[in-house]
Symmetry: C2
Subunit: 192 residues, 2 copies
Amino acid sequence: MSIRHGLLALLEDGPRYGYQLRAEFESRTGGTWPLNVGQVYTTLARLERDELVQPAGADDEGHVFYALTAGGHTEVRTWFTTPVQRESRPRDELAIKLALAIATPGVDVRAVVQRQRTDTLRALRDYTRLKARADEPDLAWLLVLDSLIFQAEAEVRWLDHCEARLTRRTPAPSPSRARTGGARRTTEEASR
Amino acid sequence: MSIRHGLLALLEDGPRYGYQLRAEFESRTGGTWPLNVGQVYTTLARLERDELVQPAGADDEGHVFYALTAGGHTEVRTWFTTPVQRESRPRDELAIKLALAIATPGVDVRAVVQRQRTDTLRALRDYTRLKARADEPDLAWLLVLDSLIFQAEAEVRWLDHCEARLTRRTPAPSPSRARTGGARRTTEEASR
DNA sequence: CGACACATGTAACACGTTACATGATTTG
DNA sequence: CAAATCATGTAACGTGTTACATGTGTCG
């Protein structure tokens, strides 16, 4: 329901028209999650169906404005007031993947972990670069970027953690191991 | 595509029937992501439509088995071989929420952050407890749980980071502040 | 017998997402 | 003029998810 609520939040600032909503959504999230224009209209239609927004006439140039209804306001309030529940979040594909990989015969779990690690590390570098060469440091965009960074970091740490656990389970895979990414961030905490 | 791929992965171990697939999916992920049985059949039908699985007869008790096709095998291989791309992941609702909250008038961003922080911290405690009182420490389930923990920790850190940034922007909100959760994990890293 | 788990399946809907059609307006 | 951008919209599809119907077997 990210987009749905996102549009509602934008409308909290006053009536907007479709194209405008896309532009604002993208600019406020730093273009991190591009939004197909068509989707704005689809979502707007659904919001109208649910009586959270309503058409608010057009301006001189024929732009079709939408405004929040009373229910829409309430919805936005509730969204901002209620924490994002962990149960409402989508299933974590990576976690599922690894959990299943472990018990699936013929799958080299360690390899899966390492490939993912390399890739996540690459993403991390990209984010860092992006952050470095960011002029006009918009606060919102910066925080979104940091969110991505924090998440990627956590993922790398978890992958290292997984590898440690897997190593403890299976003796040792091969003598020398080529490390692709940067230095190990955390020396894995001891057993349980 | 988590469930889709999940079922395929389970079938990599050999033919299964619907009910069995649900049971295994849930047990292998420690019941973290409950799966409606109906969805197994829906997904199975779609997989058959895409020629990734095919009916493989029934056993003595009439259980309808499904098996991977050649294409199904390939798909599983590819899934395990290819890292989960960050672009393919769903939009992060929390990040969007905060990014939009910042520019939305009449929204107390700090309050949003703190409510979320409290809630995430609570989830973190729950996970930790769950981990503590876990007998039969299944590796996969343990890693899934750790994934949730790492993510929640990262989220708390990020929220603290956000609060610091927000504080630096706006002077100071009120004299005394009641801290609900545990002690501050990270003293926020310095400026940029 | 009644409740409950096992087992299969379908219908319906939600949201997200894309591709396409169609104009108006701006700009090189 | 042609291309690009602005702007609105629709049709179609995909996955995830639930609610429901239906039947069998088991156990107290």
